[in-house]
Symmetry: C2
Subunit: 233 residues, 2 copies
């Protein structure tokens, strides 16, 4: 981690409703830092309360079970916020956060952040919308964990990846870069081995194909069917 000089605080949807003067003042109040990929930004067991904005790069929110298994809760890319929970309620951090690639972040103390929320209702509302989203996603994940088997959860995750992937003219979805099996496993709470087996089953059924630089979902429809037929019975 290296401290850096203070650039402008732009491209953060949460702060859209501030005037550019207010944003500049806030930027000066921030501490700016740069992290290398893999570096911890928040340690679950630390008791800081700071709030972070992702300026460039991306971070991953994870919990580690005591057995060392990693559970990925969320990925947050440039423009996002993290660390708000501890700032809001004063409790210890609930998860750890690490940089995915090289990442620069700007941070505020809890007090500064709360002041912004108090002074700017629109920012407060935007934050509430974000919290609401997180709750919805968590609920969906609890549902999946409760009703789907491990391999169907992999299917579901693949389907989610399709949504954000480029479509080819033929209707295929090209997921790039190729996701690392253990990352998928951490997202859906299973093992690397299971992910590998599922992916191979799917490629045997000609539903996905592994190219050199992308994972291609050939038949999104059929993949969707695999998920829904189990969700529904």
């Amino acid at each position: 981690m290296t401290e850096v000089a203070t650039p402008a605080l732009v491209g953060i949807p949460l702060l859209d409703s501030l005037t550019s003067d207010e944003r500049d003042a806030l930027a000066r109040a921030c501490r700016w830092k740069k992290y290398a990929g893999g570096e911890q930004i928040i340690d679950r067991s630390s008791d800081s309360r700071d709030v972070f904005f992702v300026i460039t790069g991306a971070v991953r929110v994870v919990i580690y079970s005591l057995s060392g298994r990693e559970i990925a809760l969320d990925d947050i890319s440039a423009g996002g916020v993290f660390g708000e929970l501890a700032a809001l309620d004063g409790s210890p951090r609930s998860a750890s956060v690490m940089a995915i690639g090289d990442t620069t972040v700007a941070s505020l103390t809890a007090e500064q952040f709360l002041r912004v929320l108090r002074d700017h209702p629109d920012v407060a509302l935007a934050l509430m919308r974000r919290l609401a989203r997180v709750i919805r996603v968590s609920g969906a994940r609890i549902l999946d964990l409760s009703t789907l088997g491990a391999n169907n959860r992999v299917h579901a995750d693949l389907l989610a990846l399709c949504r954000t992937a480029k479509r080819t003219p033929e209707g295929h979805a090209r997921i790039r870069p190729i996701p690392v099996h253990s990352d998928i496993a951490a997202r859906v709470s299973t093992t690397r081995e299971t992910v590998a087996r599922v992916l191979n089953d799917l490629s045997r059924q000609k539903i996905v194909r592994r190219d050199a630089d992308a994972l291609v979902v050939l038949d999104v429809e059929r993949l969707r069917d695999l998920v829904e037929e189990v969700r529904g019975e």
Copy 2:
């Protein structure tokens, strides 16, 4: 469900920071209703956006898997709020809500609620703290679902029930009324049968005892050990 006349809006922590005049005005803006136990208050597939305050009684937030399995997300008792997510982000409801016993609720439209949040930063902050709590609880549940086996989840739930139960002089925890097995099952995502088996194992080990009117946890320590030893390995 029956419509009722408008009483006062008291005992809602979320609204503590309002003056009593403001609270009275808000009370008049609410629709007041009474539901019998088991009645649906929010249907997951409806597209209302109203926000509800629980005045007396309690409600349960649930999702149903399409196979009919019920997954309990949260119980909210008098003084609580529910239905905020849809009001905040305008998306459809993410869960259903039913009355647990006879329950009276007061509701606001999304617009009215958002106006309160905008005009009263302290209410907004209180709501954010509540959302933060929900997120933390969800995270803990995801962790449990990912790392604990079904019977350990039952142990963990029992332990949680102990926290809110009365202690006897001998240090036992008397959980009353006796929880229905299928309710526990819905909370920890397992089956009624598994809960019954776990409970019997525990009573064989003299860790719990089933009295006529209460479930008594004789050895809270040992129960805690059962959970932690697995969480940790």
